[in-house]
Amino acid sequence: MEDFLIELAPPLIRGILLGGLYVVIALGLSLVFGVMKLINVAHGDLVILGSYFAYAAMGWLGIDPFLSLVVGVPLFFAFGFFVQKFIINRTFRISLDAALIACFGISVVVQSLCQVIWTPFSRSLTTPYQLRSFAVGELTISVRYLLDFIGGLAVMIALREFLRRTYLGKAISAASQNEPVAERMGINPNRVYSFAFAIAMACAAVAGVLQGLTFYFSPVSGPPFLIISFGVIIIGGLGSMAGTFIGGMIFGLTQTLGAHLSGGSMMVQMLAPYLLVFVVLSVRPQGIFGR
């Protein structure tokens, strides 16, 4: 029994740290979902686009992936703003389904663009510190998983302060709580949507770097991240930062513990998060903390 518990410790730590990555991805999705009640189906692919951007910056300029974010975050922000303004806002006026299909179109375009530019081969952001690990007592902790956790915490706190302290942040919170009232108070919903999507894209750029340091990626590895981050939102609930954080941890743990308890089976590691999302969705379709 004691051996079992000791063996359980590494996947536990790894799962919690990995959760940070899912938190960053889910925060972007959650922001758009909160204000528009629309799931951006392209979010996973946009995260992968972020990974490729860092990969390209490393290749051309030879800079660290985190340094590439200095350019990447503003670029993604602007890109998101215009995508929302010119594509999604227009379709959103027609119907939610049309906007969903537009997001799907964006997902196809981003995926095929990555495939054209960077070929379908698997890549990773190879850095000197990526594969290092250090020991804490009897545990060894990989640097990349630790970076995921720190990144997740940092983005979460930054976003939380932004939503609480700035006018724009308050407008976004207001629009996601009750849009008709927010509109009557002089908040322009289309502008709020555009900024929400732009911030979601900036989150995707950060998530892309963390993701690229943690896993191998190819143009088609986006959809699993979409599903997992959707699961995080469902478990964590909208608008609750702590909930999102816990949701991320739960998904990280499902993956690492599932793999550990099944004796390292890849099938379980891949299937476990999907099953969890599906079961939660079918038991409580509007989410555990859903309104």
Partner: protein, 328 residues
């Protein structure tokens, strides 16, 4: 004697001419194009039945296609003839639809879309690590080849595809003119109102879901008779969702002729851009975005708006009138 409508006769004539194609020595490449068109048309018609008439944005056609294809392939390994495998594949797809209907119909709108998107991803993960029959060279990531279809000619698969596509059009036509169609459109327009007006929402949704799964499954299995090799990445590929979705949206969602126009355009684009690899998908995605933003009703909607059908319909009516007079 009741004289059949001219529109019915015209569609029958088109069907007969198409059916004669393999006999009169049409170039084989044409048969290839048309077969792809038929499969795309059958999928698009069923996607239109779900999204356009029932209001279910179902993102899991690739689950049905992959399951049917795998049933056909694995069946052929244990000695099931492909004809039986075709039906069995469609039946397995419908059975899968029945199993998932209870959880997924609890979800609505956007939740339903994501809920169905999970299923093919999960199935792909499952089939990637599963080997029910065969040795180390088959199963898992490598997939299976369909055996026992060596004697099937391109003409045979062409007829199969034509039959499936014609059946899908006929089925949607019948459903829309029956009580089922009325109930489905009521659900699409407002689920709660439909329920309070006495529509059994769950049962009607289930019917359309089962029909769509069966036809999509049989279309997928037919494709794997034509191209007898299936692996998890190919069978559960998202392009099986993309084809019907694009065909329906570009052609016109919720319009009977929409999928026909859309499927023709999508198939044409596919062969036109076949040499450009990933660029092909990129251009298709851009077209999808342009259509959604500029003409949300699709091409068929645009045609209806400008009254493009008015002249041919009037012509048909005039000719019908003449025939009636002569018969009297």
């Amino acid at each position: 004697m009741k004289i059949p409508r001219l529109t019915t006769l015209a569609s029958l004539a088109v069907l007969v001419v198409l059916a004669l194609f393999p006999v009169i020595g049409i170039p084989l490449s044409w048969l290839n194009y048309l077969f792809t068109f038929f499969i795309c048309l059958a999928l698009a018609n069923m996607w239109n039945l779900l999204a356009g008439y029932t209001g279910l944005i179902c993102l899991c056609p690739h689950a049905f296609v992959g399951l049917a294809g795998y049933t056909l392939a694995i069946g052929s390994w244990v000695g099931v003839p492909f004809q039986a495998g075709l039906i069995a594949g469609a039946a397995v797809a419908a059975l899968f639809a029945l199993l998932i209907s209870f959880p997924v119909f609890r979800m609505r709108g956007i939740y339903f879309a994501i809920g169905t998107l999970i299923l093919p991803e999960a199935l792909k993960a499952w089939f990637n690590y599963w080997r029910p029959v065969g040795n180390v060279y088959q199963g898992m990531g490598a997939g299976y080849s369909v055996t026992g279809v060596e004697g099937v000619t391109l003409g045979d698969t062409f007829w199969l595809g034509l039959a499936i596509a014609a059946a899908s059009i006929f089925l949607v036509h019948i459903i829309l003119r029956a009580r089922l169609g009325l109930g489905l459109t009521a659900i699409r327009d407002n689920e709660n109102t439909a329920a309070s007006a006495g529509v059994n929402v769950f049962r009607l949704k289930l019917y359309s879901f089962l029909i769509a799964a069966f036809i999509m499954g049989i279309a997928g299995a037919a494709y794997y008779i034509y191209s007898p090799r299936i692996n998890p990445v190919g069978g559960f590929n998202i392009s099986w969702l993309l084809l019907p979705l694009m065909a329906t949206v570009i052609g016109g969602e919720g319009l009977e002729e929409g999928p026909i126009i859309g499927a023709a355009i999508v198939t044409f684009l596919r062969f036109l851009l076949a040499d450009y690899g990933a660029w092909s998908l990129f251009i298709q995605g851009i077209i999808l975005l342009v259509v959604v933003v500029v003409m949300p009703q699709g091409i068929a909607g645009l045609l209806r708006q400008v009254g493009a059908y008015r002249f041919p319909l009037r012509l048909f009516q005039a000719v019908e009138g003449r025939i009636h007079e002569n018969v009297k």
